[in-house]
Amino acid sequence: MVKTLGWLAAASVAAGLVMAFGVAPREVTQGNVQRIMYVHVPLILASYLAFVVLALASLVYLVRRDEAADRVAHASGEVGVMFVGLGIATGSIWGKPTWGTWWTWDARLTSVAILFVMYLGYLLLRGTIEDRERAARYCAVLGIVAALDIPLVHFSVYWWRTLHQPPSLMKPGGFTGSSSILWPLLVNLIAFVLLYAYFVARRVRLLRAEAEAVA
């Protein structure tokens, strides 16, 4: 099953690249640099998904003390941190030619940096506590609390004046741009969600094997 998911993810990433570079048009005001959107937006949205899954799995762990739920939370956190880190980096690369700066402390960028640091702390906390049950419990609480930052990140562009543009996909009234931009964005979003699922499935399998090897 993991292998099938891997092949599906690889095929959809290839399709996403074809859509981003072969189908999507050159944007009128930004030029071809706007094509960064097809990797930046899916990375950020997939990281939201990762942290929501982490929070739900953490809740299940706190209620049932189910180690499988803790493994899902751990794996999802690891992949989520990688995705949000790459989302910040690609956004910064996109920002330099369009805004004239790599970074600015506006509401969207600051709140997403806080999200990244909180989940990085989540992974560090896992590594520093030796007692596995205690580490799982503390991390579950942190994972749920940190998820409260997700709506703050998403709605920051509405609540404060920011340099960052409003959301492209998840906004009131839906996507208002051209379908030649929407479809490449959707295909890439599916690709990154599949990639997320593949990495989490593989990491969960590995965490289970590690637990069995230690036992």
Partner: protein
């Protein structure tokens, strides 16, 4: 506005490299665990 293809290549290249490194790290860990399991398995 100029096309800035260098920035596009940097964004996609960085993402590809990071994903590849993570994928290889998972594969390496799996190989290590498999080797450990073989070592622990009772010999017949």
């Amino acid at each position: 506005m100029p096309d800035n293809w260098g920035f596009v290549a940097a964004a996609y290249g960085l993402t590809a490299v990071a994903l590849l490194i993570y994928w290889r790290r998972l594969a390496k860990k799996e190989r290590e665990l498999e080797a450990l399991r073989r070592l622990k398995a009772p010999r017949s």
